[in-house]
Amino acid sequence: MLFHTWAFALFFLIVYPLYLALKRTRFGLPWLLIVSYFFYACFNPLYLILIAYSTILDYTVVAVMEKKGRRKIWLSISIVNNLCLLSFFKYAGFITDNLNALLSSLNVPYVLPAPGIFLPVGLSFYIFQSMSYTIDYYRGNIEGERSLIRYATFVSLFPRLLAGPIERAKSLLPQLHKKPTVSIQDVSDGLSLFIVGLFKKVALADYLALYVDKIYSTPDQFQSPALMLATFLFCWQIYFDFSGYTDMARGIARMMGFRLMLNFNNPYLATSLGDFWSRWHISLSSWFKDYVYIPLGGNRKGKFNTYRNMFLTMVISGLWHGAAWTFIIWGAVHALGRFCTREMEATSLYKEKVPRILKQLFVFIFVTFAWIFFRAESIGDAWIIITRIFTSGFAEPHCPALALVLIFAVWLYQFAYESKIRWFLEQRVVRIGIIILMVLYLALCAPSSEQPFIYLQF
C-alpha cells in the first residue's frame, strides 16, 4: 500500500477521521499503533513479527538500563541484536555470494546454499530509528519511554515507516507524549506537501524511469549520448523518487499533527560535497554523523584520522543502501570526492572567487557520476557505462525532450527559490497556479503504471 495508490487513499480516508476523533482520548495512541501495524501488515503480515521483536527488545533494554545499570552491556546487546537482524535479512545473500566466490577462487569444491531471504520493507529505517533511541538514552540525551505502546508507535508510525525520515526519539517521542493538535493550517500544509511529493514521484520520477530503465538494462547497446543522458535523468529520478516519498510522508504526518524532519533541501544546488550531504537524505546523513563518524573520532584526532573516519562512514553509508559492491563503491567514490575537495573548499580563493553556479555545476557533475555505481546492475555494467561514455561514438540518444524540459523547469524553480526572486514564487497566485498545474498534469499526463519507491529496497 504505497502512498501514491488509491488503496492508500482509501486507507487514509478510513483511518484519518477516526484518528481525529480519538487523538485526544486514551484510545488515540493505540489506534495509531493498530493502523500502523495494519499498514505494515499489508505488505506481508510476517513483517509484524520482526518489527514487534525489535521494538520489544529495545524497549526492554532501555527499561533494564534504567533499573539495573550496567548500561554498556545492555547497549551492546541492543546494537548487536539490531545489526544481526540487518545482517541476516539484508546481507545474508551478499555474504554468501562473496564467500562462494572466495571458495571458488581457492578451488574449494563447496558451495554455500543461497539463503533465499527477502528483505522486509522498511527494516533498515526502523532499525536505525530504534537504535538511535537506545544510544541516545545511553548518552543521556533522552529519558526512557515508559509506555510500550508509545514506543511501539514511535518505531512504527506509518507515514515514516517504509522509508523514513529516520526520526530521533528526542524529536518524535515528545510529540507522541502530548495530545496532538491538528489545526486547519496543519491540514493545508500536509496537503501541500503531499501534492508536491505526489507530483515528484508520479509525474517526474516514474516518467524518467522509463528512459533510465531502458538504457541501464542493456548499457552495452547504447552510445555515449544516451548513457550520459540516462545518468543525468537517473540523477533527477532518484531525487524526485525519494524526496517525493519524503514529502508525502511529511505531509501525511503533518495532517495528523506530527512534524517530521526535512529530509531533502534542494541537494542539487549544493556548492560543495559537504553541502550536498547536508541537503541529501538529511536524516540518514545526520544519523551516520552522530552514531558513526563522531564515535569514530570525527575530526578531532588529526587529518589522517579525520579522513579515515570520513571514508569509513561513507563506505558504511553505501553499504546501508544495499548489499552489493556497487553501493560500497558509490560510498567510496563520495569519500574520495570529499578528500579531494575538502581542503580546496576551505580556501578563500574557492570561497570567494569561484562563482556559485560553477561550484554547483561541479558538485552536480560529481554526484551524477557517482550515481552510475548506485544505479548500475553490477560493477561490470558500471564499468561498461563509464568506458562507453568516454569511448563510444555518437548516436541519437532518443531521450524525450519533454523530460528535459520538466527537469529544467524544476531546476529553475529551485534556483529561483534560493535566489533573490524567491518573493515571486511566494506570491499567492503563483503558488496556487503551481499546485493547479501539478494536479492537472497528474490527472492528464501521469504514467499509467505504478512503480514502487526506489528506497523501499533499502
Partner: protein
C-alpha cells in the same frame, strides 16, 4: 490558523526535553519549496479544479467532431475508450429507436461496417432505426460493466441484447478457472463481488479501477491518451516519439476504423463437425450467464424494452454429446427467458459456409439473421411496432 506572512518563516517549534529536565526548541522547516497553501488557497484550487473537471470534457466534446453514420461502430482500437462509448451511447439514444448491444458478433468482427447486423436490419427497415452498440472484445461480464457505468443514457429505448453461447463453452471462457488468466476489459468486471476466480488483480489495482469508474474525468483523460497518443500515456508516448511535441498530437479529430489496420484473421473458412471440443459449463453456475442476466435486469430497470438474441452459434462444429449439451443449454436459456417474460429469438442454424468460426457469421450470415428477425413475430411486435417506423 497561521497568518499569510508567517508561512514563510522556517516552520514550527517542537519542544525537545533533555534528561536534566531543561528543554530546548528546534525548528522543523516546512519544506524546500514555496508551494504552501492556506485553507483559503485550497478552496480556490478546489473551485478552479472542479470547474476544469466539469467543463473540460464538455468543451472537448464541442471541439472534437463526432458525427457517426448509421453504420458506425466504435473502432476496435478504441474499444477501451469508455468515455467515447458513453458519448456514442448518448448520440445513439438521441437518434436511433433501437440499440443493438453485444460483443464482437454484434460489432461484426470479420465484416466491414456496412455488412453488420445493424446495417442489414436498417436495410430491411428502410430507415435508420438500428444502432450498432456492439463492443469488439467484450464478453458478458465486461459488457455488464460497460452498460452499468458508461451506458447510463440507455433508457426508454428498444434494446436488442445479444447473448453469445460461446462464453459458456469452457470454464476458461466463463472466467471460472482458479488459475489466473488475462481476459479483455478487466476494468469493467466487478472488482470485489461477485468474485471472478481467474481475476487476480491486486487490491490497489481493483481500487484504482473502481475510482476510474467513479470519476468521469479519468475516463476523459484516458480518451485523450487513446485518441491522441496511440493508446499510450503521454510519458510512454514521448519515449516512442522523443523529439515530438505532445501538444502537436492533439488534432481534435477522432480516429476512424480506417486509421487502423483491419484484423488480420478475417474470413477464415468455417470448420466441419466435431472439429471443436467444448466443455460447456452448467448454466446455473455460469458466471457469464449471471452477468448477462444482470445486464437484462438493469436495462429493464431503466425502462428499456429488451429483446434477447441468442446466438448465432455454429452448430456444424458440434456433434454427439457436445451438441446435445448445447441444445439442452439452449432449452434452459429459453425457459429462463420465458419465465421472465423476455421476448427473444434464437436464429436458425445458418449454412456452414456462412460462419467464420464458432459464433461469427460472414456478411451474408448477418443478412440472413436480419431477415429471420424481421420474420419473427416477437421481434416484429416488440421492436418494430414500438419503433418510429418499420416496413410492416
Amino acid at each position: 490558523m497561521i497568518q499569510e506572512k508567517d508561512i514563510y518563516n522556517t516552520g514550527y517549534s517542537i519542544p525537545v526535553p533533555r534528561r536534566n529536565g531543561k528543554s530546548r526548541t528546534e525548528e522543523v522547516p516546512f519544506g524546500s519549496n514555496c508551494a504552501r497553501l492556506s485553507l483559503a488557497d485550497w478552496l480556490i484550487v478546489a473551485i478552479i479544479l472542479s470547474a476544469v473537471v466539469y467543463f473540460a470534457p464538455m468543451l472537448w466534446e464541442r471541439a472534437e467532431k463526432f458525427v457517426p453514420s448509421s453504420d458506425y461502430r466504435i473502432p476496435y482500437d478504441l474499444s477501451s475508450d469508455y468515455w467515447l462509448y458513453e458519448r456514442y451511447c448518448r448520440f445513439a439514444c438521441s437518434r436511433y429507436e433501437t440499440l443493438i448491444i453485444g460483443d464482437s458478433v454484434v460489432w461484426g468482427h470479420f465484416v466491414p461496417m456496412d455488412n453488420t447486423l445493424s446495417h442489414h436490419l436498417n436495410d430491411l427497415a428502410g430507415t435508420e432505426q438500428f444502432a450498432n452498440l456492439g463492443a469488439d472484445g467484450t464478453h458478458p461480464a465486461a459488457l455488464e460493466g460497460l452498460l452499468r457505468y458508461y451506458g447510463r443514457d440507455i433508457s426508454n429505448k428498444n434494446v436488442i441484447l445479444h447473448l453469445n453461447p460461446l462464453w459458456m463453452t469452457s470454464p476458461r471462457h466463463d472466467l471460472q478457472t482458479e488459475k489466473e488468466h488475462h481476459f479483455n476489459h478487466p476494468k469493467l468486471v466487478p472488482q470485489f463481488t461477485p468474485k471472478i476466480p481467474c481475476y487476480k488483480a491486486s487490491f490497489p489495482t481493483r481500487i484504482s479501477n473502481v475510482v476510474d469508474r467513479c470519476v468521469p474525468f479519468f475516463n476523459f483523460s484516458s480518451h485523450l491518451n487513446i485518441t491522441c497518443f496511440q493508446s499510450m500515456d503521454v510519458p510512454a508516448w514521448t519515449i516512442e516519439h522523443p523529439y515530438e511535441n505532445p501538444l502537436g498530437s492533439i488534432t481534435f479529430r477522432l480516429p476512424t476504423s480506417d486509421d487502423y489496420e483491419r484484423p488480420k484473421d478475417a474470413a477464415r473458412p468455417g470448420r466441419g463437425p466435431g472439429q471443436t471440443s467444448l466443455q460447456w459449463v452448467e448454466l446455473e453456475t455460469s458466471l457469464q450467464w449471471l452477468f448477462f442476466r444482470r445486464s437484462v435486469n438493469f436495462l429493464r430497470q431503466r425502462n428499456n424494452r429488451v429483446f434477447v438474441l441468442v446466438g448465432p452459434f455454429n452448430e456444424h462444429m458440434l456433434d454427439g454429446d457436445i451438441l446435445d449439451t448445447y441444445r439442452n443449454l439452449k432449452i434452459q436459456i429459453e425457459v429462463w427467458l420465458q419465465r421472465n417474460n423476455l421476448p427473444y429469438y434464437m436464429p436458425e442454424v445458418l449454412p456452414a459456409h456462412l460462419y467464420v468460426d464458432t459464433s461469427h457469421p460472414l456478411g451474408e450470415g448477418y443478412a440472413a439473421i436480419a431477415k429471420q428477425l424481421f420474420e419473427n413475430a416477437a421481434f416484429r411486435s416488440n421492436i418494430l411496432s414500438s419503433g418510429s417506423s418499420g416496413n410492416d
